[in-house]
Symmetry: C2
Subunit: 286 residues, 2 copies
Amino acid sequence: MSLIIDCHGHYTTAPKALEDWRNQQIAGIQDPAKMPKAADLKISDDDLRHSIETNQLKLMKERGSDITLFSPRASFMAHHIGDFQVSSTWAAICNELCFRVSKLFPDSFVPVAMLPQSPGVDPATCIPELERSVKEYGAVGINLNPDPSGGHWTSPPLNDRHWYPIYEKMVEHNLPAMIHVSTSCNACFHTTGAHYLNADTTAFMQCLNSDLFKDFPTLKFLIPHGGGAVPYHWGRFRGLAQELKKPLLEEHLLNNIFFDTCVYHQPGIDLLNTVIPVKNVLLPLR
Amino acid sequence: MSLIIDCHGHYTTAPKALEDWRNQQIAGIQDPAKMPKAADLKISDDDLRHSIETNQLKLMKERGSDITLFSPRASFMAHHIGDFQVSSTWAAICNELCFRVSKLFPDSFVPVAMLPQSPGVDPATCIPELERSVKEYGAVGINLNPDPSGGHWTSPPLNDRHWYPIYEKMVEHNLPAMIHVSTSCNACFHTTGAHYLNADTTAFMQCLNSDLFKDFPTLKFLIPHGGGAVPYHWGRFRGLAQELKKPLLEEHLLNNIFFDTCVYHQPGIDLLNTVIPVKNVLLPLR
């Protein structure tokens, strides 16, 4: 039996109560009297079932895919909002919802966790939520945001030791990371039309311009949105690897970097499948 | 007779004296006693001839192209260094050198000007150098840097009125702009492996998410490096135009936006030529 697994699913259709709670949390940053408790959010199993059955699950059945790796909505992670405590409460809520969906539909959804990242905060602070997601929720991956500032790019590049505490835990649990930014709060970058694609390209080049995968030979990154500009400019990256005295791209990066097929037209998909070895292409539905 | 014109040539091979002068100028920002005068830079016509005959012109002859649109080296523009006065002196020197090359090889090189942009400074300050380049040097285009901060993206997007003084002059002189960033001073962005491609994608999306070309119907932008991630993600941009209630991409943008073919492998070139109408693809050699 073969299974079709969508490696890049987000809970984009969560019940409205989640967004309302988040808006209250954001209001609470300015006015602590307004800050809601996590327990104030009430979403029933029926609400969850409805939001999934009429959306993701319906499309999965129509299109014939079996399993979706399911993480909190990427643009709602918004790590730039508030401090670590704000991100921590928000990540815990979102990860628990994806876990509950996976319990309600155990044959169809497997959780992937977001992290409570916050600009300027040591990524090691994310480890308790990562551990809980793996041990209690059965998460099979994480979403790692290379730019928690939301378009200001104030964190060190992914090849910096800044990120190593996360990588150590990933390796320990054999956990891949999808490298995925969130909403842009920089007016120059449209979130889905520029920031997402730029981040994909940037992350790939940060890996290329380093020996990260010598330090972590089993680390696995999924670069979403078909790798941003990377497959289209594969010749440029091949030349850069040569100029930087790195091994050929296949040896240097393709034991560790994988691409999804989130490219919304046939010529792009064709290019991806022409340029990138099939073992490095994973299949998302959206 | 048909001519093969390379629309994206930079003076990457300028005599070493230019770089030495620039390094002295940068030293002079900290220590004004070290600041060189423009007249301190001595480059003879023979030096210029040698730097061109053994490089660009040799390759043009070998490869059978006729004319190169020739602008100062993009990564050396470095608008983030120093203030407006520093950029102004530097732009004047670099533009004059490209002009001198065009006089020495009038059949082969036509000048394109860089602008003395500086972070946080009104782009209208660039107009005197733009006018001089057009009227005295015969420049047929400009390079416009959408991010003079060098990777911090602190200027407004290209659809903002901030940039309109430049656009008014472009329209007046029927002058296209290549949208080209310079060196990244943000450690997240490798200059040629991330910043260039990200800027191309970003600029396209800024145009998409606006009515800029309603305000300037004859404005012409060349987006270099094959349009960054744009042709590979043409389906994504088609969807974004629809979501943003804009006309179809051809009508909305393709009277005003053009792409070069600076894509260093055949599958990328094939994608570009499949997706983008031939009237919107211009031919650079590098």
